[in-house]
Amino acid sequence: MSLFNSLIRPSNGTPAGAEGETRETRRPHYEIRETEGSYIVTAYLPGVARDGLEIVDEEGKLRITGKCAHKLPEGSVTLHRESSEAPFDLVLEHDSTVDTGKIEAELKDGVLRLSLAKSEAAKPRKITVS
């Protein structure tokens, strides 16, 4: 009955992308909430625009990758830097309780909200006693 029963940790230097290139990624902050009919994943992806975001669900693994759209204006000099340029990468493993055909995503102000509908079998069922 677990929701996402294990987490795969993206370590630095894992191959990111289909091209097999190796580069540093960072795992975004995220939260998972359970409602009666779905799991809600909230991932914080500051600087990621819609076209830099990719969500793939494959073989029970949901992978969220986001590239930051920000570019420094031409001729500017960085004085102090705390943010990271590394793309976001988050992999969540789930079991058959998620209906992969009903995954909805919304990206607003750098926050991704994913709604993963539970499969019919995973929903609570009320049984009437006759």
């Binding site: 929701l3 029963n5 902050h29 939260e31 909430r33 914080y44 992806l45 031409e74 943010s83 990271s84």
Partner: protein
């Protein structure tokens, strides 16, 4: 210019989810302890739950730019002010989890040089990034002086 550097909390972050399924591995506990120590030492909570947030500073010949990561904040919940020669950025984010609604507050004070025009500051917010543009004073801009040599 004075800044207390932000240190990213470990992305193996503390989540209620880590315990779901009843499997909390030793490595996870160590990660969480690392994170807690880190948070205690730097005096931050994290950029999600509230507290500080990462800031970048860069400039070109006309402006100084302050870029702050503030995902999911409503525009009217962002306040940018110049107070005693420092740039103060404050923001809050409302979070709904079921019936409950919580508010996470963020603030950061960035010392800025004297050569910016405090009254002409502008800000924009896109993709969860706040960019504050501080125009430099005329005398601070690089100037080309033509010297005629006789």
């Amino acid at each position: 210019m004075r800044l207390i550097p932000y240190s990213y909390p470990s992305f193996r972050s503390v989540t209620p989810f880590a315990g779901v399924g009843g499997r909390l591995a030793q490595a996870d506990i160590e990660d969480q302890l690392d994170w807690l120590y880190g948070a205690a030492l730097t005096g931050i909570s994290n950029s999600v739950g509230g507290g500080q947030f990462p800031v970048d500073l860069y400039n070109d010949k006309d402006n100084l730019y302050v870029r702050a990561e503030l995902p999911g904040v409503a525009r009217d919940a962002i306040s940018v002010e110049i107070v005693n020669g420092s740039l103060s950025i404050q923001a809050s984010r409302k979070e709904k989890s079921g019936e409950e609604e919580t508010t996470a507050s963020f603030s950061r004070l960035v010392s800025i040089p004297d050569d910016v025009q405090g009254d002409k500051v502008s800000a924009s917010y896109e993709n969860g990034i706040l960019t504050v543009t501080l125009p430099k004073k005329e005398e601070a801009k690089p100037r080309k002086i033509n010297v005629s040599v006789n």
